[in-house]
Amino acid sequence: MSLDALYQQIILDHSKLRHGEGLASEPAPVGASCGESHQLNPTCGDEITVRLAVVDGRISQLRWDGDGCSISMASASVLTDLAEGIDTEELRQLIETFREMLRSRGTITADPEVLGDAAAFEGVARYVARVKCAMLSWVAAEDALGQATA
């Protein structure tokens, strides 16, 4: 298992570009049902706050602020791209698929048709200590989604 399989180019790019970063940069859409969740990884101090807005059953906006490693930051950026525009049930399913892939210790091959850029995190599944990094924003989104659809 080479380091390059963990740090794929897509991950390094997203860790720099960070789509969706900045809670304050853009307010939540008027009339949207919103949820916000803060998650912390106490072992490394990584943290993220994800705000998710739902309009007519679809994710109209996902914004986040975070501080953490390239895996956690890239994961939040990829999540933003994937989540915006899909409906709430699709997002729930996507989060579950991503979680299953990460927890498989490399036994599940990521399907780019389903996971899109998130398939690039396949290598993370082989580094058990880094799975939490990749999941951090997704767990926050799951919690925020629960609030927004409660």
Partner: protein, 435 residues
């Protein structure tokens, strides 16, 4: 003229790479490959490795003498008890203490909690009169430093919260040095406890113990020394330092996990209320109440960590035979090589003292643009083991404007090649992550 045997001449000399390579042969775990490279272990500040003699000491106990101590009249019980108490004498002597002043604990964290909870028990209504010197109340102050490991912070936060005492701290400057002028202002007649680390697990600084003890002695203040990063790495004499209490963790000094020690002046230990209660720490028990043994048994309720204590004594012997002054001297060389090498790399900020200034054999650093977790992963890929994160010192990291750093920490089994391997690898981190 009497000829001095060559091996004695050799053992008195300064440690060097050749001698360290011989020492490495005593550590089975170091001889392996990680990710296709020879393991470079630079995480002894978190946990150290065990020489074969220590592993064998623990195994020998289980093969030959395993039994509960301080009970039973059979052969094995006597053997186990004698070994256990001999281990106490060895470890006490290692830090300059008497054996009745050394209490076994699971680790330094438990030792500090023992103090905190004992002081809490002394503060409760109905506490025995002799424990009054340890009672805290509203208006009293506990003083720590801003560089403390969480283990020497949170037990005191909790004690303050429960007794109404106030927790104060001595700040550090931007370079991580303690502000001693501020310390002199903070430590006063209300200061009941002063707890501080002997050597910082993040900054590598050595605390001016004598200056702080002087401030405490001018008041009615109990001094607690966290010796986790000093006892394994430099000569330690708790009597000479004149501290009231000191704590250490075995796994940071070549021993297994699960064993540590609390040193306390005998008069203190015998007046303090127990923390954990139960078997082995009592004299007379009725259905209503119990009387307690003197220290150290007073603080050793239940069946003890016997094999671990024996292994810790074996580790102390290994360190003594190698020579604590030589170990400290060698690790100073490694620490300076770390800080000067890292500081010379672009985008690397080393925490704590600059090159040429006093530091123990560790260095924590920030890599501009690359998170510590990624640095650690990159180094691991090259077989180099370091610690990443806040190193259980979040307030210190916050003070220095950081959330996480990478820490390389050495021990007597590290060569300058290990340091150079780290430096070479760190030099490639930023380009790998496209910074």
């Amino acid at each position: 003229m009497v000829a001095i045997p060559t091996h004695l001449l050799h053992s008195a000399a300064t440690l060097d790479n050749d001698e360290v390579r011989r020492i490495r042969n005593d550590f089975p775990i170091l001889h392996q490959q990680v990710n296709g490279r020879d393991l470079v272990y630079l995480d002894s500040g978190a946990t150290s490795q065990n020489p074969l003699s220590v592993i064998e000491a623990e195994q020998e106990f289980y093969e030959q003498r395993n039994s509960a101590v301080h009970r039973g009249a059979h052969y094995l019980a006597v053997e186990a008890t004698e070994s256990f108490e001999a281990a106490r004498e060895t470890v006490a002597a290692f830090i300059g203490a008497r054996s009745d002043e050394l209490v076994w604990t699971s680790n330094a964290t438990e030792a500090l909690n023992l103090l905190s909870y004992s002081f809490l028990n002394a503060s409760l209504p109905g506490a025995p009169a002799e424990s009054a010197p340890f009672a805290l109340r509203d208006g009293d102050e506990i003083v720590v430093t801003e560089m403390e490991h969480h283990a020497n912070l949170i037990p005191w936060q909790q004690l303050a919260m429960r007794t109404g005492a106030t927790l104060r701290y001595i700040p550090v400057d931007d370079a991580g040095a303690l502000d001693l002028e501020e310390a002199a202002r903070i430590i006063g007649p209300r200061t009941r406890v002063l707890a501080f680390t002997h050597a910082s697990n993040v900054l590598g600084t050595i605390t001016p113990v004598a200056s702080l003890v002087d401030l405490a002695r001018a008041q009615n203040t109990l001094v607690v020394l966290d010796a986790c990063q000093s006892a394994p790495h430099m000569p330690l004499d708790v009597k000479a330092l004149d501290v009231d209490f000191a704590v250490l963790s075995g796994h940071k000094m070549l021993a297994p996990t699960g064993i540590g020690a609390l040193y306390g002046k005998a008069a203190h230990l015998n007046a303090m209320p127990p923390f954990l209660t139960g078997g082995s720490m009592i004299t007379t028990v009725t259905m209503e109440k119990a009387a307690f043994l003197p220290a150290p048994q007073r603080f050793e309720a239940g069946t003890q960590r016997i094999s671990q204590a024996i292994a810790l004594a074996s580790a102390a012997n290994y360190l003594t035979e190698t020579g604590m002054a030589r170990i400290h001297e060698w690790e100073t060389v490694l620490g300076q090589r770390l800080v000067s090498g890292l500081s010379a790399l672009p985008g690397i900020r080393v925490l704590g003292p600059a090159a040429g200034e006093e530091r123990i054999g560790l260095a924590a650093f920030d890599v501009d643009g690359v998170h510590a977790h990624d640095v650690g992963q990159y180094l691991d890929d090259r077989g180099i083991a370091v610690r990443v994160g806040h190193h259980c010192a979040q307030p210190l990291h916050r003070r220095l404007g950081l959330t996480a750093t990478t820490r390389a920490s050495t021990y007597l089994y590290n060569t300058t090649d290990d340091v150079d391997a780290l430096l070479e690898a760190v030099a490639g981190v930023r380009s790998y992550f496209r910074v």
